[in-house]
């Protein structure tokens, strides 16, 4: 009799443990799937519902994890890149060249974040390039070099990109007060290309 009760309790506990593992594990995976998986534009992805009261539960949870206090799209459009144009994950062991054309927005910036979603440590406290800081090319476009040491024109360093110096990193492109056309062309906007130059 006692053996049957203990066996039943163990089965119940095992069921609960499996349910917790399935439920919390899949929830955490969904939350960490990243911001803006709704629309893809080259290496960049976004979700127009970011920050919005119309956001679904998954978009809202992803924002809480990787973009808390993000503004809604009426104010700012956020694009995130965690891959390059070839679809390979961005790595702090590699160097990348971003080539961009003028963006139809009041202000833009491109910022490097570590795998922990915080700014990457570097001696110069240099984490981004923006409309008001970037040196432009002759055609008014821009080239940004993202590499371990941040060398090159408009360089941003990626070294020591996250906890335990994990090698994954990501970029956020912010478009503040973009032109009205932006909203209907999120998938076809001419966003900066992200090309891998080489790896160490």
């Amino acid at each position: 009799m006692l053996g049957t009760v203990i066996s039943g309790l163990l089965k119940l506990l095992a069921t609960l443990a499996v349910a917790l593992l399935i439920g919390l594990g899949s929830a955490w995976w969904s939350i960490n799937a990243g911001l803006g998986s709704a629309l893809q534009n080259g290496a960049w992805s976004t979700d127009p519902a970011i920050g919005s009261e119309a956001a679904g539960p998954y978009a809202r949870a992803a924002v809480a994890r990787a973009g808390l206090l993000a503004l809604n799209k009426s104010e700012t459009v956020y694009f995130t890149a965690s891959i390059d144009d070839a679809g390979e994950p961005l790595s702090t062991k590699c160097s990348y060249r971003l080539e961009g054309k003028p963006l139809a927005t009041r202000w833009w910036s491109i910022t490097v974040y570590g795998s922990d979603h915080y700014l990457t440590p570097n001696e110069d406290h240099h984490y981004s390039q923006a409309m008001n800081t970037v040196t432009r090319n002759a055609d008014d476009g821009f080239t940004i070099n993202v590499s371990p040491d941040g060398s090159g024109l408009n360089g941003i360093p990626t070294a020591a990109s996250g906890p335990d110096e994990e090698d994954a990193f990501s970029l956020t492109l912010r478009l503040y007060n973009p032109d009205e056309d932006t909203y209907s062309n999120l998938e076809s906007l001419a966003l900066p290309t992200v090309t891998k130059e080489g790896c160490s």
Binding site: K11, A14, T15, L16, V18, A19, L20, L21, I22, G23, L24, S26, A27, W28, S30, I31, G51, S52, E53, A55, P57, Y58, R60, A61, V63, A64, R65, A66, G67, L68, L69, A70, L71, N72, S74, E75, R106, W107, S109, T111, Y113, H117, Y118, L119, T120, P121, N122, H125, Y127, S128, A130, N132, T133, T172, R174, Y176, N177
Partner: protein, 174 residues
């Protein structure tokens, strides 16, 4: 009869319920942690001016190093909150508000403001706003949340000027 297929089915169904609950609760949990953290440090309805974001900044994920942020946590269940700030010239500035589920329910920027000062009153509901006059009223979708001011550092030369201007912003429980 084998019991394990039934137990596995029960685990999957229960796992699905836990999954949905966790996804729904996560934003509320994160916001509650943020509001409680600000409450512990400076109190509710009190503005805090964050230093410029660096790799040591850990209050909010993915901060912009090109902006300076000021923040106040609110709880309008007992009293409205008066918010005012001078609007800096020739740079981006915005006043935004977030509910307890992280939704951005209000935002206004410098290009939309006709005066050199922005002032709004945040209330719990229309009834609470009845006795108030003057400044525009914003109804909060939740009792608790945060107000966030963003100022773009247009150039490093202007940092001290813009930093001084943002420090004049006020959050005040009425």
């Amino acid at each position: 009869m084998k019991a394990w297929p039934y137990l596995l089915a029960a685990a999957i169904i229960l796992g699905g319920i836990i999954h949905i609950a966790a996804v729904l609760i996560w934003p509320v949990f994160v916001m509650d942690r943020l509001v409680s953290g600000i409450e512990e440090q400076v109190g509710l309805g009190v503005i805090a001016h964050a230093p410029r974001a660096t790799s040591d900044s850990r209050t909010v994920v993915r901060p912009s190093p090109d902006l300076i942020y000021s923040i106040c946590a609110f709880d309008v269940s007992k009293a409205p909150l008066r918010i005012s700030a001078p609007v800096p010239k020739d740079t981006y500035f915005s006043l935004s508000m977030f509910g307890d589920n992280s939704d951005n329910f209000f935002v206004v920027n410098d290009s939309q403001l006709l005066k050199d000062t922005v002032e709004v009153i945040l209330v719990q509901n229309e009834e609470q706003s009845g006795a108030l006059g003057g400044a525009p009223i914003v109804v909060a979708p939740s009792d608790r949340g945060v107000v966030l001011f963003r100022t773009l550092i247009q150039s490093e030369d202007r940092f001290e000027e813009l930093d001084a201007i943002r420090q004049q912003a006020i959050c005040e429980v009425m």
